[in-house]
């Protein structure tokens, strides 16, 4: 079985996003970038499926600037086999990303597309679902557990109020939630080995190109700042204030 794992290069999880003073976007210049954490979980799950003998090959694909090679290299060091970079300096919206990934899926013919549930920059939570719809493959989003037996994936999903378990006929799209696994740190020998693995550099035109965007961002602003209130000296004062001042109890 072949697994396709799309990954995105984003502002590092530990770095606080700062809005540019001209409100044109979030300042990414000279910021630490890293693999989107949900993508990392998806790659880890793919590698575990390979270690269990369920998967034979893991292909990692990223759409982004030339530096996204580093993100692919990280996935290769975790245990993926080869990479594809669809190089673009634009920031394609989820619909375009889903269309490019569909073209990659048709060329690579994976049995499973394993990807993050959302990227932590745009927080759209859309590409996996759109890709599944465009391919007419079944989907399971927000996965917290995944088992593949023959041509069926059994996926437990995190839903409001608990968990839901589904069975999908492969090929299928599964998106990873936070609790699917804890990604490994790549070992030094694996980082060295990853340097020898292939990354094919492609253009968007190799996969059908980009159409004009449907969305335009006119402003990116700081959220309204919440100002701290007062410190109270005791639980009794707190209750009194909640009752008389705030009127919430």
């Amino acid at each position: 079985m072949k697994i396709l794992a799309p990954v995105k290069r984003v502002l590092d999880y530990n770095v606080k996003a700062r809005v540019k003073s001209d409100q044109s976007g979030v300042d990414l210049a000279n910021m630490k970038m890293a693999m989107n954490p949900f993508c990392e979980i998806a790659v880890e799950e793919a590698v575990r499926l390979k270690e269990k003998g369920v998967a034979e090959e893991i292909v990692v694909v990223s759409i982004g600037p030339i530096q996204a090679q580093e993100t692919i290299r990280t996935a290769l060091a975790m245990g993926a086999d080869r990479g594809i970079l669809i190089q673009t300096d634009t920031d394609p919206e989820p619909l375009e990303v889903a269309k490019l990934l569909k073209a990659v899926a048709l060329a690579e013919e994976p049995s499973l597309i394993l990807m993050g549930k959302q990227a932590i920059d745009g927080d759209n939570n859309a590409v996996g679902q759109m890709l599944s719809a465009l391919l007419d493959w079944p989907q399971a989003t927000f996965a917290s557990s995944l088992e593949v037996t023959g041509a069926v994936a059994k996926v437990t999903r995190e839903v409001d109020g608990g968990l839901q378990t589904l069975e999908l006929d492969l090929p299928a799209v599964v998106t990873a939630d936070l609790r699917l696994n804890e990604p490994r740190y790549a070992s030094l020998p694996n980082i060295m080995k990853a340097k020898k693995k292939t990354i094919d550099i492609k253009t968007v035109d190799d996969y059908g190109g980009l159409t004009s965007p449907h969305l335009s961002v006119t402003k990116v602003a700081e959220p309204p700042k919440r100002v701290g209130g007062v410190k109270v000296d005791s639980a009794a004062t707190l209750v009194a204030k909640l009752k008389t001042e705030a009127g919430v109890i």
Partner: protein, 314 residues
């Protein structure tokens, strides 16, 4: 323009997220219909018909819709969009699961988790876990939008819309439902609760979390929440998690106990009307956004709080 609102329900009860999404829809158009997709949803549809300002209620029923399988829901909704200019879906786990599929099938760009309708093409939505707000203009002839319900007031009652059945669509032939494991609780639902009491890593154990947080929540008639740190440590179940990767809440009163206030947590609760923080570390970031802060060890503060509440309620 006409707008279709997707109802949030569990086949038995209509959820308040629907009323809030109707408010967002009414700011786009006076022609707002509601779709109730599920199984055995006559009661839910009757509730939806009472929402003020709703033109009509559509029902689509099948087994796969009853389980709210994304492929089935998108299959039922997409053909209906021939008659609508926008689809508004509460950003629940069901809504987020199927709405992007509808967008892909219509070849439009979905707009996720809006918190404001600026005009019929322009919406505001949080990005970077709420650290920035993006204003986005859509050029699509049909809009597919998920709505962060906590950002909108609930529409009132008093309507009497007609109810019509529509085609439930082809179902989900390649996806099978296996099981649900839903947490049963008599407490209010976290996402819509008026008061939320949340515990953090300071609780130290699941037993302590239950001993401290749950009685206080019950005394206040509150839902129980937790920080990611508390959930990851196993002190509270996954679906208690408030924050960037958990639930986004905006209750009248949010009580954070032993929660330091990591940015991921603040993203999930900073729009609460009143925030109370109890933490023994006076420098904890949670105090920067709390309306009322009490610098104290929860071990002494919570019993005092319980007895002070007793006095007030008496």
């Amino acid at each position: 323009m006409a707008v279709l609102v997707f109802a949030d329900h569990d086949n038995v009860t209509l959820k308040d997220n629907t009323h809030k999404t109707v408010t967002a829809a009414l700011s786009l158009s006076g022609d707002v219909d509601i779709l109730v997709a599920g199984q055995g949803v006559a009661g839910v549809a009757a509730e939806a018909a009472k929402i003020a300002g709703v033109r009509k209620v559509l029902t689509a029923e099948s087994e796969a819709l009853g389980r709210q399988i994304a492929e089935a829901v998108a299959g039922a909704v997409t053909p209906l969009m021939a008659d609508y200019d926008a689809l508004l879906v509460p950003a629940t786990s069901v809504g987020k699961n199927f709405a992007p599929r509808v967008a892909a099938l219509l070849d439009v760009a979905p707009i996720s988790e809006i918190i404001e309708v600026v005009d019929s093409q322009t919406f505001t939505r949080p990005i970077y876990a709420g650290n920035a707000l993006e204003t986005v203009v859509s050029s699509d002839p049909k809009k597919v939008i998920t709505v962060r319900a906590t950002a909108f007031k609930a529409a009132g009652e008093g309507g009497s819309a007609a109810i019509t059945a529509v085609d439930p669509g082809p179902g989900a032939p390649k996806t099978r439902f296996v099981s649900d494991e839903l947490v049963k609780s008599d407490r209010p639902e976290l996402a819509g609760a008026k008061i939320v009491v949340s515990g953090g890593r300071a609780m130290g154990s699941a037993e302590e979390f239950q001993r401290v947080i749950e009685p206080l929540a019950d005394k206040l008639g509150a839902a129980v929440g937790a920080s990611r740190a508390a959930v990851d440590a196993g002190y509270a179940p996954n679906d208690y998690q408030v924050g960037q990767t958990g639930k986004v809440v905006a209750p009248q009163l949010y009580v954070a106990i032993g929660i330091s206030g990591a940015i991921q947590h603040l993203a999930g609760m900073k729009d609460s009307k009143v925030i109370v923080a109890i933490n023994k570390d006076g420098d904890a970031p949670i105090f920067q956004i709390a309306d009322y802060g009490l610098v104290a060890d929860y071990k002494t503060a919570i019993p005092e709080l319980m007895s002070a509440l007793e006095t007030v309620k008496a």
